[in-house]
Symmetry: D2
């Protein structure tokens, strides 16, 4: 339903080993997540306008193969878990058909005053939409 | 034996939420790791000079509390696992006495040509040193 | 002849003022420069393969208007000066039809051993190509 | 009166050329500027608390010598010009006694609503302090 996000590796994202610095993948995850929400019609901008914030609770990143300046990384995003309080997102990054990185991020939901909220109660429509997108793999 | 590394949050490390952007903690981990190796007498520079590279295989980061511009984060580094092929490092980040982030990184060992090596065989002295530092908690 | 490069502002590029952090524009300049060289058929990769490096000697950046998360910045690149030893590149960044940033970078040419070279002598063909693209405005 | 700020080059600040990526110097300038204001007793935090913001209008950076992972860069900050509407700051970065980078940034003053203000009128005490620090060289 959604198309993978593409990130092209920039020169400033490489390090003295000649490869993409590992910290940048956490930024690629955010880029892909923002794009995914755009694609399903619930952008960050709309969330913010509605007073909803979804902070990152944790990230797990597994580096499979190095990538290089100029590489185009395809990032497939999928929702792997959805509860009233939490959302788990998976990321599979490939380059030239090979997996280069597997990652996931866990998010909670808070209001403008940083108080935890139940998404199910606060935004039932968005909760239903996201729940319907959960992929079991 | 080692002292915690201190990172002061810079303005450019904050995001529009007004807090330290989560991707930066992976960079703080690297800063603290480099400092830890300096402290135990086996710097990155020495490793590189000896043809040893220790790429990051994975990182897990759990964000406990947000931090802000000007905050001084103390990062305590500990070796939690050491085998011939892998090293696991733990990071506990505190600010004003409270834990703000818990993380770990897993590393392998490769030579200059990116071929996996046994640290035990390639650098027995370093392997013994690191093994002696493993903390079981 | 070349088309402007487009950079979309990422969340991690914003700061606690809620705007794009000013340091990132220097990175956008590099992105646009790399893209420009791709467009004229002389990519960074090709340059490196031919043993040519073009370090940044200086940058001047004038911030005209702030930009925000999600903004799409169009970056028009032009060569403003070309000598055997130096290349000056101009950048005009617009967003929604308004100029947000004006910048330029100055570059020299060195070989693999970081020794300054005359591009005119070392790569006459590339020198001619670049000279033909200089815009006087 | 003030002491130079020291920035140690991090691994993630290097690029595939093996040197500090040029964009990072703009960040070092900010680090040194923040530290300078701390030293003269008028921190960013205090400014913000008083409703004063000082956006960057322009930066000029001249890269003199490359720096490398682990290098400790000393950054001497000086105020070179001060008017009711603008402040110009100079930065001289040295490493092992040699100049590696010369830079300056120009700042204006705005209130919380981003409206330009006269610092002389809005904060006469701060204006006097800053004016007294201007160095003519």
């Amino acid at each position: 339903m959604t198309v993978p996000y593409v990130h092209k590796i920039q020169y400033y994202e490489t390090d003295k080993m000649g490869v993409t610095h590992h910290s940048n993948y956490v930024r690629f995850m955010e880029e892909a997540r923002v794009d995914y929400l755009d694609q399903i019609g619930y952008s960050f901008g709309r969330m913010e306008a509605e007073g909803l914030v979804s902070p990152v609770v944790s990230v797990n990143v597994r580096y499979v193969k190095p990538t290089f300046f100029g590489d185009k990384i395809e990032i497939a995003v999928s929702l792997s878990e959805m509860t009233a309080a939490k959302m788990r997102i998976g990321y599979t990054m490939t380059c030239n058909g090979e997996i280069v990185c597997q990652a996931e991020s866990l998010h909670c939901f808070v209001d403008k005053n940083s108080r935890p909220i139940s998404l199910k109660r606060a935004k039932p429509q968005l909760f239903e939409l996201l729940s319907s997108l959960v992929q079991n793999n």
